[in-house]
């Protein structure tokens, strides 16, 4: 035991306080939301150009991570193919813009086409479980890249496809970077809010039960298959939205965009941000964009080394991801909401057997958010 104590999980911070904490009071929360809104509205106006451009990219990948979270963080189905749906959404967008379609139509298609593709894949893949689903989803980027090259007439082949759209409208008094960031904030914000209410509502509870134990779900009359398909489809749809935003912000896509490596990095970003967490998705998107920038700044020739080290360091300190840091702060509120969760915390605490560390902590945290 002594030898293990070095890696034993850190003792939890103080338990739930009985009285509602400051952050729990309704007016505080409402004021907080308002403050956030004001910051989001004002920030693009006052931030330097590169900050705006970076934040827009963060938004793109936050949405992509959010989609992954729906299927993986909330529903527990490992998906290694999320980047494919981003790529698909980007291609649909690029194609539409090149053909001068109405931007609203383009946006809707960028949602619908990936969603339908996701639905088709899910109808087949959701029959499988665990690692098998991971392998089927791995195939999406792996096959997607050569497929995009083969369909060169539509995709522009390996040289990719550019589409510039949506500069700041005349008379808006905005610079392009400001306008782009607003678009990302509005579309991304809506997606986040909708997803938030989805995972906190009836569907979210069903997802959590499916994640917890499919047999239990079946016995409760919840079809794991149907909910897995649903989660996968929604994730694909959100992926499509992120693809639209990708095209809006980056204005170029190529088969490289949806390479397998990027899918893996999205997965890492999701876990780093915090699986099964709305805020975690934003943090994950920020991680995806900012860490390469940061490591480039430190030493561009050591980026891989530094990124690996940062990833390991963050998870070593926060196995539950960056969001767990925030959760620790707002623990009281989380505990009181835990009753909604599917798996009621057992009286028997998670195992701390052997010399293995008590890493049950993130486990219980996820219940709280389920």
């Amino acid at each position: 035991m002594a030898s293990a104590s070095a890696v034993q999980a850190t003792p939890s911070p103080s338990a739930a306080s009985p009285a509602p904490s400051f952050t729990e009071r309704p007016w505080v929360r409402r004021a907080g939301a308002l403050l956030l809104l004001v910051v989001l509205v004002v920030a693009p106006l006052v931030l330097p150009q590169f900050a705006n451009e970076t934040l827009a990219r963060v938004g793109v990948f936050a949405v992509a991570v959010l989609g992954l979270n729906v299927v993986m963080g909330y529903t527990g189905q490992v998906s290694l193919g999320q980047i494919f749906f981003l790529g698909l959404g980007a291609y649909v967008t690029a194609y539409g813009v090149q053909h001068d379609w109405n931007v609203v139509v383009v946006f809707l298609l960028a949602c619908v086409v990936p969603a339908v593709a996701g639905l088709v894949v899910a109808l087949a893949a959701a029959r499988l479980g665990g690692l098998a689903i991971a392998m089927v989803t791995i195939a999406l980027p792996i096959v997607g890249v050569p497929l995009a090259k083969r369909l060169g007439d539509v995709t522009g082949g390996s040289q990719g496809i550019s589409a510039r759209m949506g500069g700041a409208p005349e008379g808006s008094g905005l610079y392009n970077d400001q306008w782009t960031l607003y678009v990302v904030l509005v579309i991304g914000g809506i997606v986040f809010l909708l997803t938030r209410s989805l995972v906190r509502g009836k569907f979210g509870r069903a997802f959590a039960i499916v994640k917890g134990n499919e047999h239990v779900a079946s016995s409760m009359g919840i079809s794991p298959y149907r909910y897995k398909v649903l989660a996968f489809t929604i994730a694909s749809l959100i992926g499509g939205v992120s693809g639209f935003l990708y095209m809006y912000v980056i204005q170029y896509t190529s088969p490289e965009t949806m390479s397998f490596g990027h899918s893996i990095q999205l997965l890492a970003a999701m876990v780093i941000g915090g699986a099964g967490s709305i805020v975690g998705s934003i943090l994950g998107g920020a991680y995806y964009v900012l860490v390469p920038q940061l490591t480039n700044e430190i030493d561009a020739s050591l980026t891989a080394l530094l990124q690996g080290a940062i990833l390991l360091a963050v998870l070593f300190v926060l196995p539950g991801g960056l969001a767990s840091l925030l959760r620790a702060v707002t623990r009281g509120r989380r505990r009181s909401g835990a009753g909604n969760g599917a798996a009621a915390p057992s009286t028997t605490p998670p195992s701390t057997a052997g010399s293995a560390p008590a890493a049950g902590e993130p486990e219980t945290e996820r219940h709280g958010h389920a």
Binding site: L131, V136, A139, N213, L315, F316, G354, P357
Partner: protein
């Protein structure tokens, strides 16, 4: 006809490369229940160590043996000081940790040895033997033979030995294993060490062909994973056979199925996986696992 047979032989030799990494993935999975994305990276690191040693005049065989020892220690250290923190937690997190490890190892290799291509001496000569109009290099035969031997050893380890049994027990239920007196921590270290040592063998086998670069095994990793799932996570024999099947079918599909061609042949293993798993969820050779409520 000659071309057909040659394509099959080519496929087997490519499949052996996938099998080498796949076996290490199976070993670590059986011993810890994890999928280790860094397996290829650790093998590359071992190959660099062997390469650096040969550059200092150490004979090749000795250099490889030393790299195997190095890898065993590295694997054990990685388990003890990195993975242990995550082994009882969310498996997704542990997998992402291995992704981070892969990135880190690749970065370290690039930093120490640059991204320049290095040629790695081969254990086997590149001479060719021909029979029935089919040519095979001694190197391919040698690689395949070593893979088969390793596979047999692994199968024996898991099925026949006390250590293998203990490794599997720890992976399945560490707490219960510790109640039976199994030193869980030490066994996990041994499992990772063995998998890394096996990875070192794999690295030395494939490095001459792929030439040594930090990302040498990145492309093979996906195929290795496919072989692992197709063959069934629990079966070394199954995984090797699956890797060969993938190698062969991929070639045949590329040549004889015009729609697939060389660009989409990568889809073949995944289509195969999909079909097989629908019929046999435990993989071709894996043992059936009944999930308890």
């Amino acid at each position: 006809m000659g071309t057909f047979v040659q394509l099959v032989v080519d496929g087997l030799s490519t499949g052996s490369v996938y099998a080498a990494i796949a076996l290490a993935i199976v070993l670590v999975n059986q011993a810890t229940g994890l999928i280790n994305f860094a397996q290829g990276g650790m093998a590359v690191l071992a190959a660099y160590v062997a390469w650096a040693l040969t550059n200092r005049g150490v004979p090749l065989v000795l250099a490889i043996l030393l790299s195997i020892v190095f890898s065993f220690v590295l694997g054990a250290v990685v388990e003890r000081y990195l993975m242990r923190r995550f082994e009882r937690g969310d498996p997704d997190t542990a997998v992402v940790v291995t992704i981070g490890l892969l990135t880190l190892i690749t970065g370290v290799a690039g930093w120490l040895w640059t991204y320049n291509n290095q040629s790695f001496p081969s254990l086997f000569p590149l001479d060719t033997v021909s029979f029935l109009g089919v040519s095979v290099s001694i190197r391919s035969i040698g690689t395949t033979l070593v893979i088969v031997v390793v596979m047999a050893l692994l199968q024996a380890l898991f099925v026949g030995t006390k250590l293998g049994l203990a490794l599997r027990a720890v992976a399945i239920n560490p707490q219960s294993a510790s109640y039976s007196g199994l030193p869980v921590g030490r066994l996990l270290m041994v499992g990772w060490g063995l998998a890394a040592a096996l990875g070192a063998v794999a690295g030395a086998l494939v490095a001459p062909q792929l030439t040594l670069t930090p990302g040498m095994l990145d492309n093979a990793l996906v195929y290795a994973l496919a072989a692992v799932i197709l063959g069934g996570l629990t079966s070394p024999v199954g995984v090797v056979v699956a890797a060969w099947i993938i190698g062969v079918l991929e070639n045949l599909a590329a040549v004889y199925v015009p729609f697939i061609g060389y660009d989409l042949k990568v889809a073949v293993p995944f289509i195969l996986i999909f079909v097989v798993l629908i019929v046999r969820p435990q993989g071709l050779f894996g043992r059936k696992t009944v999930v308890r409520v």
